[in-house]
Each structure stands twice: as C-alpha cells, then as structure tokens.
C-alpha cells in the first residue's frame, strides 16, 4: 500500500457516490429500536422503485439523538428523520422524488446539533463503519501515511504535546508526556494498548466511537506505535459490547488485508499488529494495571504504581495505554496540525469532549462539545431540560468515581480543573441528569453498591470500606441512622479515599462526599435523634 493506492481507493469510492444518500444509523441505540429492518426495507424499496442508480442506502454509526431512533439522514437535502420504522421507511423515497414524506423530522437547527463540534465524531454517522473504503474516502489513514513517511517519531510526539491533548479516560494526564515517557523507556518490546473497557454505568461514548468509526482508533494506535516504537497493539474491549467487538474485528481484518496494518506499513520500517482482547465484566479492569493483568490472562487486580506502565507494563515491557477517545483524536491532530487543535477549548483543556447525555433530560444521546462549554448549555439548551417541565436538581459526571454538580452551579465551564474543584471529575464522559424525583442519598448508595460489588478485594480499605459505607448509607436511607453514623461515614470516606490501592477505591467515596457537600440536608433529614440518657443512672445489673 502506498499513497497512490490510498488515493485511488478514495477516488473510486467518491466516484461511486450517488445523487442521494440515505444514512441509516446502525449504532446500538437505533439498532435495538429496529434500524436493521429499516435498512432492509429501504434497500428493498429502492430496488422496487428502480432507483438503484439514484439512491445509496448506507449503514452509518451514531447520528447522536439516540432517544428518537431509529434515525435516517437524507443527503444532500440535509434532513434528519426520526422514529422511522420498517413500516413507514419506504415513505422516505418520497423525498428523493421531490415530495414530502409523512415522517417526523428532527430539527437540525436545535442547539442539540448546532452547539456540537465534531472532531472525534466527525466520521460518526457519515462513514460506513463496516467498510474501510468509506473511511479512506473521508481522508482516513492519510494521517498515518503522513506521520510514518514525512515525520520523525519525535516530531509526532512533539505535535501531540503541542496540541495539549489530555487523556480522555478521565484523569486528564497529558498525552504527549505519556508518549514521550514510553518512547524514552527501553525494553525488549513495547506495546500500545487501547483501553476500551468503558465500565462507568451511564457512559456510552467509547462504545459509540468503536461502533461508528473503528478505523480512527486503529489509525490513532498505529500513529502512537510509530511514535513510541511499538510493534504490537491490544484493544481491550468489554464483552458487553458485541457490536463494537464485531466491527473492530472486521476493521482489523480489512486494514490487515490492505496492508495498513502488518509489516512495512506504507513502505516505512513500521510493523504494527493489533489484537483484540475481550473483557469479562470486571469494572476494575478499566484501571490500567488491572487491565494489563487481564490482558495477560490473569485475574484483573491492580498493583501499586510505580513502576508505571510506561516503564514496566505488559510482560514487564514499556506499555502505552490510552483511552479510545484519546486515540480517536490523534489522526485529526496530525491531519490538521497541533495549533488547530490547541486553538479549541480552554487554557488547560484543549479540544473537544464527547459526552453521553442521559437520565432525566428530554434529548438523550451523544454530544461532542468544545471544552469550556457550560453545563447549563449542555443540559438546558442542548438537552432541552427535564421532561415534563420538572426542575433539574443535579448533573452527575464521572460515574461512580465522580460526583454531582447541583443545578445552582451549572454555569461551570466543563474542563478537567473546574469539575475537580466542584468535587466531581471529568471522567470518561457519562453525564446523567437528575431532577426533583431523584433522591440523592439513594444515588449515593447506588454508586456505593456498584463499587462494593466491583471492588476486586485486593486491598482492605476498598474491600471492607465500601461494604461499611454501603451499610451506613442503607441505614441512613431507612431512617435508622443517627448523627454519629453520619460522622463515621464521613470519616470512612476520608480513610478509603486516602488509603486505597487503585483509582476504584480512591474515588469510590466521591459520590458520597459530593452529595454530602451540596445536598447535606437530604442526609440530615433522615437522621433520627440520638438516644439521650434520661438522667437516672442505669441499674448495675440487667
């Protein structure tokens, strides 16, 4: 494979485009609403109407507005139709004939769409995730070519550093710094690992990226491999995402067949292969050291750091671990330049962030906004507020490691630092909106139950602490607790936070601490008065 062949594939793909394209969303949300049948019906209708040379029916990834699925986007008229089903799908052909289909149309001028800025999701909903040609037609693998042919590895790392990209898994570690650490480390082999073990309940960004645009992740990984000098990559993906696994497998096969993965990529000395590793349902495996243990086929328990994976990771070799979204940002940075990327976002948080907007909000779905967008814009303007005109109470970010931001503070600009200041975290991007009907103590207990079940049991603060905290929260919820119990709970939170081995334990108290900070009255309301001694001394014998 060389540049000419790559361009030839692009030309051929663009040349075969038809005047009309019906893009049918086949990501998991719409698929479960029956979009596969919609696609079949559309294809049949196109054939029956003899419009095959006029209309292309294309399977694409996420079209964002999951709550209104199945979604179909009609090009070039740029109209999005919602709640299309197998029965009424054929009506869409009316649009091709110049008529007006009797179908619900989504308002593309709504802030939900207009406030988005797509970098990671640029191809999502546009390219066919099951065809590599479709990705190449959207300038796919061009960045990889440019990187391995025209740039030195250190120039690639420099570009990533200048761009200001930070880890999208939640902690926000500078990606360039991580890459250069791995590049400097020495070892018999090096590995690149993509962390696709998206375990946070309420988060589906990585799943959507993998289902909608798997090649961008592969391309990002290959560029990373070139930069740090690795030859083998692993993608660790959750078993709960069968569609993402299938599409990744397909993408790896296609890339290998075209010689984009394998030996001597684009005629350079770069050899790079990617293997898929399927998780088996353990939340703690999202922690990098636990993830590596799992890739090695062991129980996924974390180990103390240092040594960091960048120095001693998989099988003791230097290992670069990044999140799906981080890798998906890389091709765009190489293609458009580091300065372009650095011009988006806030001073310390560059670029965009993908959020999975869900919970008690009108428009649920996938959004990508520039860093620094306020929570209020996201929830009230884009999300359309709570359904039925209810008052929004809080927004939960960061899943079981994060916290709740109360409605009064929703004017905060979303970036790594400002959310941390509020006792929450950016997290991987799950954003759950809660309204008046949500009980904050119940939410805190929900997350604690999650951490209790998912604690791997290796260190005692987390193993025993989460059980005790869950017990105390239940006691409070049932109205059996006193002020003393609340004090013990706070003490325990502090202890578990500071003494646990890995991120799971260290962040497990966050949901409790943040709800205590902003919604303390909900806890205190439930406390029963302390039993006061009545004055008379108790008899010595019982």
């Amino acid at each position: 494979m060389d540049l000419n062949q790559l361009l030839a594939i692009k030309e051929k793909e663009l040349g075969s485009r038809k005047p009309y394209t019906l893009r049918v969303c086949t990501a998991a949300g719409c698929l479960s609403a029956g979009s596969d049948k919609v696609k079949e019906q559309l294809e049949r209708a196109v054939a029956d109407a003899g419009l095959r040379d006029q209309v292309e029916v294309r399977c694409v990834g996420c079209l964002r507005l999951c709550c209104q699925g199945p979604l179909v986007h009609v090009d070039p008229v740029n109209e999005l139709y919602q709640k299309v089903n197998a029965e009424n799908a054929a009506a869409l052909l009316e649009r091709v004939r110049g008529g007006k289909p009797a179908l619900e149309q989504a308002d593309l001028q709504h802030p939900f769409f207009t406030k988005q800025l797509s970098i990671v999701l640029a191809n999502s909903g546009v390219v066919d995730p099951e065809r590599i040609e479709s990705y190449i037609a959207a300038d796919g693998y061009r960045a990889l070519h440019d990187a391995v042919i025209e740039m030195e590895p250190r120039e690639v790392i420099q570009a990533i550093t200048t761009s200001g990209l930070r880890g999208r898994g939640g902690a926000g570690f500078p990606t360039g710094l991580k890459w250069s650490t791995v590049a400097k480390s020495t070892g018999p082999r090096k590995y690149v690992v993509c962390n696709a073990d998206e375990g946070d309940p309420g988060a589906f960004m990585d799943r959507s990226v993998l289902e909608s645009d798997p090649h961008s992740v592969l391309e990002g990984m290959a560029i990373a491999a070139y930069a740090v000098g690795a030859e083998q990559g692993f993608i660790y993906v959750r078993a709960e995402y069968p569609l993402a696994i299938r599409r990744l497998r397909l993408a790896i096969d296609q890339a290998r067949r075209l010689g984009i993965l394998g030996s001597g990529i684009f005629g350079s000395p770069l050899n790079f292969n990617v293997e898929l590793r399927i998780g088996a349902g353990a939340f703690v495996c999202g922690e990098e050291t636990a993830l590596m243990a799992s890739i090695e086929g062991r129980r996924g328990t974390p180990r103390p750091r240092p040594p960091f994976p960048a120095e001693s990771g998989l099988w003791g070799c230097p290992t670069l671990i990044n999140n799906v979204e981080t890798f998906a940002n890389v091709p765009a940075i190489i293609r458009n330049g580091a300065e372009w990327f650095a011009s988006i976002g806030t001073e310390k948080s560059k670029g965009t962030k993908v959020f999975a907007l869900a919970g008690r909000v009108k428009n649920t779905g996938l959004i990508e906004v520039p860093m620094g967008t306020t929570l209020r814009t996201i929830v009230e303007e884009m999300g359309g507020g709570a359904p039925g005109g209810a008052r929004i109470k809080a927004v939960q970010t960061g899943g079981p490691s994060g916290g709740c931001v109360p409605a009064e503070l929703m004017d905060v600009e979303v970036d790594y630092e400002s959310l941390t200041r509020l006792g929450s975290i950016m997290g991987s991007g799950g954003m759950i909106v809660m309204d008046e009907t949500t009980d904050m103590v119940d939410v805190a207990r929900f997350f604690m139950e999650f951490c209790k079940d998912e604690s791997c049991g290796k260190c005692i603060p987390c193993r025993a602490g989460t059980v005790q905290m869950h017990g105390l929260l239940t006691k409070i919820l049932e109205g059996r607790a006193t002020a003393r119990d609340l004090a013990i709970l706070e003490e325990l939170c502090d202890m578990v936070k500071h003494t646990s081995l890995c991120g799971l334990g260290q962040t497990a108290p966050n949901p409790v601490l943040s709800t205590l900070r902003f919604f303390r009255h909900e806890y205190e309301r439930r406390l029963r008065p302390e039993r006061v001694p009545t004055g008379a001394p108790r008899p010595a014998t019982l």
């Binding site: 949300g29 309940p201 709960e240 590793r277 998780g279 088996a280 353990a282 996938l366 759950i432």
Partner: protein, 210 residues
C-alpha cells in the same frame, strides 16, 4: 474442590512475569509442573475429563481454539469465553480441560473464572433476561422493573427459575443509556421498558409450552 491447590508447583501463585526468562509464555517450559500435577490423585480426574471430552464434539472445537492461540497461557480469558459460548456455562470438566490444555494450575483457571462476572459456573435457563442497572436506567426506574420481574418469576437476580426456563440477570451498564431503561431479552436489547412490558415478555416465556 478445584481451588484446593495441595499439589501445585511451588510458584503457582506468583505472577507469570516473575518466572524464568522471557519465554515464560511458551507452552513447553512448564511441563515439569504439569507432571507434578499429573502424578497426584488428580491425574485420575483429568483422565476422566479427557475420556469424557473424547466423545464430545464441543471439546474438539475448544481444543482447536486453544491450538489457534498456540496454547498461550495469556489467552486463558479468550479460551474461557469460547468454552462458555460452546457449553453455555463453565463447569469443572471444562475448567480442568482448559487447565490441562494451557498447562496452567487448575486453581489459576478457577480463580480467573470466578473473578470475572461474565463467566457463569451454573447452567443458565432457556431464556435470559438481563435488566440493565446502569445509572441512566436506574434513575428512570430499572429497580422497579427488576422488582416486578423478581416477584413474578419468584427468583432473585442471578438465579434461574426452578423449571429452568428463565434466568434473571442484571448488568452494570449495557451502554444503551439513550434509550433507558433497557432490558436485554435473549440477547436483544429492548428500549424504554416498563414493569408491564417486561412482565409481558417474561409471562410469554414462562407459559410457553406448559
């Protein structure tokens, strides 16, 4: 019984990377350990498993799958996935067979199989119903759906009805938050469920054929 490791090699519980050399993942270099295992009464057990496996086509497929992974020990989780796909769950026979095939101590295989929620050590029912208990589903009432199903079926989450017809499970998050609350019936995700819609499906499963 698998977890009792009386006859395991002395270094069985240390991570692989601490063992000798860079070729530790190669199949051959633990043959001594395996002989030690085979020399004990457990040998009989493994022989029994291998005999039983000889007449079962699924074990042949599993063996082929191990071969595809070159009997690499780090492929243990992949092999267990395949075993569960073939048999529906993992019992002692399959675990011992895999341990034998990958030349791993049975305790390691059992340890991994019990660590991950995805692996089932008991057979599941004819139908499975997985209620997503992710945050988005939870704030939209997944707990009420689960309670209704549990009450109707008469078993708790994680259990199977006595007639073996329906298994009720919960998931941490299936990533279908945009269409919450979601329930997975026999592998198909159903959007925006209510206690009534869920009960209708369970009811049809439980009354079917009886």
């Amino acid at each position: 019984m698998l977890s009792r490791g009386r006859c395991l090699p002395p270094y069985w519980d240390r991570p692989l990377m601490e063992r000798s050399g860079s070729d530790r993942a190669m199949p051959g270099n633990q043959s001594n350990a395996m002989i030690a295992t085979l020399a004990t009464p457990r040998r009989k057990r493994i022989q029994e498993v291998l005999t039983r496996a000889g007449s079962d086509k699924r074990f042949k497929i599993l063996e082929a799958h191990m071969k595809k992974h070159q009997h690499r020990q780090d492929a243990l989780i992949e092999i267990l996935h395949k075993a569960q796909e073939l048999f529906g769950y993992l019992d002692d026979d399959q675990l011992l067979f895999v341990a034998h095939g990958l030349k791993l101590p049975p305790s390691r295989v059992y340890g991994v199989a019990t660590f991950y929620h995805f692996f089932r050590l008991k057979p599941k029912g004819e139908h499975t119903c997985v209620v997503c208990m992710g945050t988005a589903c939870y704030v939209k009432g997944a707990d009420k759906i689960l309670a209704a199903i549990e009450q109707f079926a008469g078993v708790r989450a994680g259990e199977t009805t006595p007639d073996g017809r329906v298994s009720i499970l919960t998931a941490r998050c299936i990533g279908a938050c945009g269409i919450a609350p979601a329930v997975v019936y026999d592998g198909n995700v159903a959007p925006r469920q209510t206690p009534d819609s869920a009960l209708a499906t369970i009811q049809s499963w439980m009354s079917h054929g009886s």
